[in-house]
């Protein structure tokens, strides 16, 4: 009995250590080989097929187009909207089918609308950027504009407006060029069926807002900032003077130099780098940002400008009059 009592604590400890409930999920031995076999069969038949959403039973093109315009809060002409969603490849495919069946039904594609749309967008984005970045040079503005109207950006916008499934195209899933083209056509359709102001606000809300949280200086690569800066400063009649205002760890791997740029003995900007030349270039870049008022701590771009922004010459005339 005494022996049993002595063993009791050891026994109870052992019992505690034996897991009573197993938390493992039991998966049958046949599951993995079956899944593998199914995967092999799928590959043998030419990969996974994605069926277009518009071939599903629960699909109503008319309702989709209605919801599309309501979602964006715009009034579209329904025929123009359908035309904006019709890609050229779809029209060609349909015509081939029709010649086989011996009848002709005219379908319009979106090329005309997309031309109108891109023309309007080019003009509006240029004006808008000039209005919100008044001191940024023209070359820079055109670089930002090219980024905003590039295929990738427009395709991304179009995808997130839910056009992917509605587009009538020969291929599925549609590629980026078709998406970008459709977005241009949608803008064109809105311009035609609503007003210029509505189309402008649409472009502002969906395209120009893509600059939110981005650094506008990154879209414009300046080859030689020092040359540009000296030319700009020379126009005002002043001269610029770079000074080495700090150096640490000279002749080591961790060398750091700091250059300050002075105009009339007043500091314009500073820059640092591992050599004096790099530090000077960085200082020049910083100074250019200051001159263009696009510093890192610049006020966020205004995304609420109403109507068509005025051109530079118009606004200058107004300030002269007042």
């Amino acid at each position: 009995m005494a022996f049993f009592r002595r063993c009791l604590p050891i026994l109870t400890r052992e019992i505690k250590n034996i897991p009573l409930v197993k938390h493992e999920v039991h998966i049958h031995r046949w599951v993995a080989p079956t899944l593998m076999e199914l995967k092999h069969r799928e590959i043998r038949q030419g990969g996974k097929k994605t069926f277009p959403r518009n071939t599903f039973l629960e699909w109503n093109l008319e309702a989709e187009l209605y919801a599309f315009s309501k979602r964006l809060g715009e009034e579209f002409d329904s025929e123009l909207l359908l035309q904006a969603f019709t890609d050229r490849s779809y029209v060609i495919k349909e015509e081939m089918k029709q010649t086989e069946m011996d009848f002709a039904l005219k379908i319009k594609d979106n090329r005309e609308l997309s031309d109108k749309g891109i023309k309007f967008m080019e003009e509006y984005v240029q004006l808008y950027l000039e209005a919100v970045l008044p001191r940024f040079p023209k070359e820079g503005i055109s670089c930002i504009k090219n980024h905003l109207l590039s295929e990738n950006v427009l395709a991304n916008v179009c995808l997130h407006l839910g056009a992917k499934d509605i587009i009538l195209s020969a291929e599925y899933p549609v590629d980026n060029s078709t998406l970008a083209n459709t977005f241009k056509a949608i803008v064109g359709a809105l311009y035609e069926s609503s007003s210029e102001e509505k189309a402008a606000h649409f472009v502002r809300d969906f395209v120009i807002t893509q600059l939110q949280g981005q650094d506008v200086n990154e879209y414009w690569h300046i080859e030689d900032p020092w040359k540009m800066l000296t030319e700009l400063i020379a126009k005002t009649g002043a001269s610029i003077e770079p000074r080495l205002i700090g150096q640490v760890g000279k002749g080591t791997l961790l060398a750091c130099y700091r250059v300050g740029l002075y105009v009339d003995k007043k500091m314009l900007s500073t820059g640092f780098g591992e050599t004096v030349a790099i530090a000077k270039e960085m200082a020049a870049r910083e100074a250019l940002k200051k001159l263009f008022s696009t510093e890192d701590n610049m006020h966020p771009i205004n995304y609420k400008l109403e109507g068509m922004p005025m051109t530079k010459s118009q606004s200058r005339q107004q300030t002269m009059l007042s």
């Binding site: 979602r71 995808l159 997130h160 807002t209 939110q212 949280g213 890192d296 995304y303």
Partner: protein, 183 residues
């Protein structure tokens, strides 16, 4: 992080397409309600369709609503979002009020948020406000006008107090207290 979430797609807290900077766009693009007309499991969703569906469709015109009656199969809601996500949800034997709440949840979320693991609870495009650190970032401005070498800036005060120095200080403190008690 639990073992289960190892294979979940990860992401950050983001608004799709800068939603709300320009204008707000409801991200639910279409919703399909699949149900049975006679089975008891579809009772809740049938009640929802009879009482609330028309109002729901009126209040959210940007969402396409499809109804798909299927004989003797359990009810399902499939929500599709603008970013391409598809949320499948079984509403078998759920009551009318539960379904109302779930549909409101599906309407207001921006994608399949339950299937993403958040890497962080915040997100920023600009992790640094003041730019990269340089040796000159927190430099004392007094140094600009100082004439070097200066004992104030050249003093070696970075080493910790040595053991000998500590003992000496203790000894002097003790001497002081001895003098005080004698008085």
């Amino acid at each position: 992080m639990s073992n289960k979430s190892l294979f979940i797609k990860s992401g950050f807290v983001r608004a799709p397409l800068q939603n709300g900077v320009g204008r707000y766009v409801c991200q639910l693009q279409r919703i399909v309600l699949k149900f049975c007309k006679s089975h008891g499991g579809s009772r809740g969703i049938r009640d929802f369709i009879e009482q609330d569906l028309v109002d729901f469709a009126k209040n959210s015109p940007g969402t396409v609503v499809y109804l798909k009656p299927r004989r003797h199969r359990s009810p399902v809601i499939v929500a599709e979002y603008l970013n391409g996500d598809r949320v499948w949800m079984s509403v078998h034997q759920k009551t009318h009020s539960e379904i109302t709440k779930w549909i409101e949840n599906l309407r207001t979320q921006q994608g399949d948020v339950a299937a993403t693991r958040l890497r962080k609870y915040q997100y920023t495009d600009h992790p640094s406000i003041q730019g990269p650190w340089t040796p000159f970032t927190f430099k004392d401005p007094e140094l600009n006008t100082a004439v070097l070498p200066d004992p104030k800036f050249g003093a070696n005060n970075r080493l910790p107090v040595s053991a000998t120095e500590k003992l000496r200080l203790l000894f002097e403190k003790q001497k002081l207290s001895d003098v005080q008690t004698a008085e």
